[in-house]
């Protein structure tokens, strides 16, 4: 589904966030991106939905070049991808309902479908009671969950989640992970950048570890850190 070939990303100020990264992500897989702060995890995900374009190399999504794509096509790429942004990116002047409904209006969903689907996803992330409040009236974890709800509402082909449990308590984090697994089971590809050691170690999925913009580890049933002896 996603192919990156010798991708290098240097930001205009000279920081090389990704350095010669080649990776291939199968449709329907569940992938953890791990690595220290500043390793390039977010940058890697941003290349997929073309928030950034690579300095060198190729990014393909479903066989189509993302970096050579024309500007007009970009919105249609993004509609196939649900993103949980590390900084949430909620529209400050819209309620929780309207924030999620906006993602549906963009794809011209019917009013009926919006009325049915938005409460459903809010229920899934445990925010049924916060339908009509504005983002600044939510706690950090609640904002994060709104962002998760928005990412899944259109049932995209791919979900990119950047640190989706950073502001959640362990119980809530577990619930969100269960939700992600459920969505993945239905065929959606999931790419998740995370620092949550416990979660990664428990789930035993493919782990891609970045460090200084390079892939330092890529294991099919990996753990958060390099295995030293048996898994705990």
């Amino acid at each position: 589904m996603i192919q990156m070939h010798k991708v290098t990303k240097a930001y205009p100020n000279g920081v090389t966030a990704l350095d010669d990264v080649t990776v291939r992500i199968q449709k329907g897989s569940f992938i953890f991106l791990v690595g220290p702060s500043g390793a390039g995890k977010s940058t890697l995900t941003k290349l997929i939905f073309r928030e950034e374009v690579p300095t060198r190399g190729q990014v393909l999504f479903n066989g189509k070049s993302v970096n050579r794509m024309r500007a007009r096509e970009v919105p249609f790429l993004r509609r196939q991808i649900g993103v949980v942004f590390q900084d949430f990116r909620l529209l400050p002047h819209k309620t929780v309902f309207d924030n999620i409904a906006f993602a549906m209006k963009v794809v011209e969903a019917s009013v009926k479908k919006i009325r049915y689907r938005v409460p459903e996803v809010l229920e899934m992330v445990g925010l049924a009671t916060k339908v009509n409040v504005y983002p600044h009236q939510l706690s950090g974890g609640e904002q994060q969950r709104v962002c998760i709800a928005r990412a899944i509402v259109n049932e995209p082909l791919l979900i990119i989640a950047d640190e989706p449990t950073g502001n959640l308590d362990p119980d809530m984090a577990r619930e969100i992970m269960t939700l992600m697994l459920e969505i993945n089971r239905r065929g959606t590809t999931v790419v998740m950048a995370t620092h949550a050691r416990e979660i990664v170690d428990v789930m035993r999925r493919r782990v891609i570890a970045l460090e200084g913009g390079r892939i330092v580890r890529d294991e099919e049933h990996g753990s958060y850190e390099q295995k030293r002896g048996p898994a705990r």
Binding site: P75, R78, V83, R89, L91, H93, K105, V106, R150
Partner: protein, 295 residues
């Protein structure tokens, strides 16, 4: 694009108008001020042109007969003038009347004409109006050739001067209108640019969840157009109120100045300003959005 999306666009535009109420008011006021300036200069130009036209059409050619022309020949010339197809009106001023008129014109000092006793040194003359004031020079030349015409006077250049003035008023007016129109677009573009700037983050978020440029643009565009339209309504109301007062004042104080008050004229002004308002709003929005859509 589906119909419901259209509904969304209008809904968003109105919600934003309501939510940023003071911002909306500020924008409307800006549009209104700009259009008020624009509108008053349009009205001034149109009116001064109208006035010059009216003045010009009041201008006349004086055809002065030889002092001793017999009445028969005077009548012949009169008929010839009246039948000329470029002439709209001919008034005959006989000798006697000319003397009286002269005395009046001289005012107090006219008393000294008493010294003349019963002599009347004045000739018969015709006051001739042309259908089109611009033909006056040609007509004057032609009349000069008529029999027993001593001389032809037509304001000694006043007509040309007035027509010239009318030309310059029009040019000057266009320049002023152009400048004011430019200033208006600039002010509104600035205002809308700032509102978009204040919302650049939102635009970025919208793009990152897959909204197309036009999906983002339409609500802003409609908002700009509504702001422009409301602004033009305010401008037209104020302008017409001020105009009514000004007309009243002018008609009593300066009755010789012609002003236009026909509804067709006012309607035209309204149409022009409303269209200008909407166009300005739309242009302002488009200009402003360009920068922040490349997210």
């Amino acid at each position: 694009m589906k119909f419901r999306t259209l509904g969304y666009f209008f809904g968003e535009a109105f919600r934003s108008l309501g939510k940023n109420s003071w911002l909306s008011i500020a924008s409307i006021a800006t549009v209104a001020i700009s259009l008020l300036i624009l509108g008053s200069s349009v009205m001034m130009v149109l009116n001064s042109q109208y006035w010059v036209q009216t003045l010009a059409s009041d201008l006349e050619i004086a055809v002065i007969m030889d002092v001793d022309t017999p009445a028969g020949q005077v009548k012949m010339v009169g008929d010839k003038l009246r039948n000329h197809n470029l002439v709209s009106e001919v008034t005959f001023v006989p000798k006697a009347e000319a003397l009286t008129e002269m005395r009046q014109k001289m005012g107090d000092r006219g008393d000294y004409f008493r010294a003349l006793g019963d002599q009347n040194p004045f000739p018969d003359l015709f006051r001739v109006k042309a259908k089109d004031p611009r033909d006056m020079a040609v007509l004057a030349g032609e009349f000069q050739g008529y029999q027993r015409v001593e001389r032809v006077l037509y304001g000694q250049g006043v007509a040309e001067n007035l027509l010239n003035l009318s030309y310059w008023v029009r040019i000057g007016g266009l320049v002023v209108m152009g400048l004011m129109g430019g200033a208006a677009v600039f002010l509104i573009a600035t205002t809308i640019r700032l509102t978009v700037y204040a919302r650049r983050q939102e635009v970025g978020i919208m793009k990152s969840v897959g909204a197309t440029n036009w999906f983002i643009r339409w609500p802003f565009l409609l908002e700009g157009m509504f702001l422009g339209f409301f602004g033009s309504l305010v401008a037209v109301s104020l302008l017409f109120a001020a105009y009514a007062v000004a007309c009243h004042y002018i008609q009593t104080a300066l009755p010789f100045v012609a002003v236009r008050t026909d509804p067709a004229f006012l309607w035209q002004i309204f149409e022009v300003l409303a269209a200008a308002g909407v166009a300005i709003g739309a242009a302002g929005s488009m200009i402003s959005l360009r920068k922040y859509l490349h997210v």
